[in-house]
Amino acid sequence: MVINTLLAAAAATPRSGAIIHLHGIDWAILAVYLLFVVGIGIITGRGSKTSEDFFLSGRSLPAWITGLAFISANLGALEVMGMSQQGYEYGMMTANYYWIGAIPAIVFMGIAMMPFFYGSKVRSVPEFLKKRYNEGARFINAFTFAVFTPAISGISMYALAVVMQDFLGWHFAPSVWVSAVVVLVYTFMGGLTASIYNEVLQFFLIVLGIAPMTIIALIANHGWAHFKKWIATHQLPFLTPDQVAAAAAKPGTAAHQMPATQWMHTFHNTLTQNNPMHITWPGIVLGLGFVLSFSYWCTNFLVVQRALAAKDMNSAQRTPLLAAFPKMIFPFIVILPGLLALPLLPHLFPGNTTVNGHLIPATESFNNVMPLMMARYYPAGLLGLGLTALMASFMSGMAGNVTAFNTVFTYDLYAVFIKPNATDQHYLWVGRIMTIVGIIISVGFAYVVRGQSGIMGYTQTIFGVVNAPLIAVFLLGMFATFTTPAGGLWGLLVGTATSVTLWVIRSYPGLPLWHHYNNNTTGAFWGAVWAFCAGAGATIVVSLFTKKKKDEELVGLVYQLTPKPPQDANLPWWKKPIVLGVLALVLTLIINLLFW
C-alpha cells in the first residue's frame, strides 16, 4: 500500500525529458559497481558444487554477513523511494513501519522462531509447514510464494525503469535488460552466496550513497533547530490551488490541514484519526506491529532464507537480531530526507494529482522526492554514488526474490510434485534453470505492467493480503502441541480467504457491509487482524476434531516437545541472542519515546 501510490503515479503520469545528466565520473562509479557485483558472482560461483551450496550457501556464513543480507534483501529500490515519499507525506509516523512494524517481529524471530526453522534442518519455510502440518499446507505456501515472488520482482523492475526513464532519459528496455542480465549473471553462477555477498556490498552502498542526503538536507535547512522552527509555523499537507479554490468557493468547508508539528511524531494524536496517516494506535499496534509485521518478518522465505544460510544455530539466531540494529536507524536515512524536503521542495503533491487542471508529472510529485532531492543537491560524483545506490537497492531486492523463488520452486514444488528422488546434481541444475526462468518471468511481468499498469497495484496488494494471516498458523504450530495437520491446512485456507474477502469488501465501497474504513491503511491493518483471528480460530477448531501427529514426529518443530539446547556459558554477551534481543528492544523503545 505504501508502494501502490508510487506505482500508480509512475504509471499515470506523462513522461518528460531527462532532468539529471550524468557526467563521466558518475558513469565510472556505476561501472565499478557493476564490475564488482559480477566479479563476486564469478568468484562465489566456484564454490557452488551441491544444491545446498547453491540454495543455502552450504549453511556456512557468519552472522554479520547473513544479518546484513537479511535487511538488504528486503531493501528494494521501491522501499527506499517509498519511505522517503511517506516521510514527505506523513512525516515520522512512517517510522512506525520500522520501530513498531519490524523490530519487535525481527527480535521475536531471532529468539523464539529461529531455533525451530534452523534446528529442524528444513531448507525452506514451506518445508517447515510440511513437517509440522502436511503436504497441503506446504503446497499452498510454496505455490503462492512461487507465483507472486517473480511478479513482485518484475513490478520493482518496471518502477525503477520508469524512474530511470523520467530522471535520466534512459530507454525502458535497456534499463530493464541491463539490470536483469547483471542479476542473472551473479545469481546463476553463485546462487544464494553470490546474492548474499552482493546484498552486503549493496547494504553498505545504499547506506553510504543515501546517508549524505540526510546531512545535506540538514545543511540546506540551516540545521535541525531551524527546520523545527519552519515546522512550528506551518500547516500540512500542502493544498493544491484546486483545493484552496474549492474551500474558498464553499465558506465553512474545512481545508484538511493540521499543524506541521504532527509530522514530527510517531504516535501523537493516535487516540483519534486526527494525525497525518489518519490511523489509531490499536490499528498500528495490532495490525501493523503484530499481524502484518510478524507474518512478513517471521514467515517470509525471502528473509528467512538468509538466516538458514548461517553456519550454526547461534549465527542463525543472531542473523535477525544483528539486522535489528541497522534497521532501527534506517528511518534516519530513508524517511528523514523526505521529511526534511518539506521546506526545501514545498508544494509537491502525489503524481496523480491535478493542479490547475493539469495532471502533474512524476518528476514533480512527492512520489519521487528522493530522486528529486538528488537532482537538486547531489553534484556530479556524489550523484553517481547516489544513483548507483538506487540501482543497488533494486538489484538486492530482485536477487533476493529470485534466489528465494528458485529454492522454493526446486525443493517444494519440483522435488515433491514433478520429480522426487532425483540426484542432487539434477536439483542443482533445476535451480540454475529456475534462476533464468525467474528472471525471464520478472522481465516479462515488467513489460506486462508497462502495458497494463492496473495489474501491478493489484498484484502487490493481493500478495500482501494473502500473506497477512500466515503468522497465526506458524505460532499455533510452533507453540501449541494440540494443533493438527488438518487444523494447519484449514487455518491457512480460512485465514487467506478471510483476508482476501475483507480486501474485496473494502475495495467496493458500495457493498453494504461493515468492514469499511475511511482510508486504505486503516482498512489493511484491521483486515489483517480479523484474518489472523479467522486463521487462528479455524486452526484451533479443526484441530479439536482431527487427528494430531505423534509427539515424536514433532520434536524440533514444537517448543514444548523440543529439548532445550545446552547454553554455552562461554559465549561473550554480544553473542547471546537474549542479550541482543533485549538490547534491540530497549533501544527501539528509547527511539520511540524520543519521537513519541
Binding site: F36, I216, L385
Partner: protein, 74 residues
C-alpha cells in the same frame, strides 16, 4: 570462501579514490545551498576511511586462511 571484507573494502577504496580525485581536480560545491562544501572530497574521504580498514582486515584474514590451508596440506 573469500573473505567478504576484501571486495567490499576494495570497492569503497576505489570509489573513494575516484571521488577524492574528482573533488581535488574539479571541486564541486553542493548545488542550491549557500554554504560552500566540496562534498565529493569529504565524502570520498569518508568512503576511504570505511574502505581501507575493511580491505586490511579482509586481506589479513585471507592471508591467514591461505597459510592455514598450506600448513594443513602436507
Amino acid at each position: 570462501m573469500m573473505d567478504l571484507r576484501l571486495p567490499i573494502g576494495i570497492f569503497f577504496v576505489l570509489v573513494g579514490l575516484i571521488m577524492v580525485g574528482y573533488g581535488v581536480v574539479s571541486p564541486h560545491d553542493i548545488p542550491n545551498i549557500t554554504e560552500k562544501v566540496n562534498i565529493n572530497l569529504y565524502w570520498g574521504i569518508v568512503l576511504l576511511v570505511f574502505g581501507a580498514p575493511m580491505t586490511i582486515f579482509g586481506w589479513r584474514a585471507e592471508a591467514k586462511a591461505k597459510s592455514e590451508m598450506k600448513n594443513k596440506k602436507p
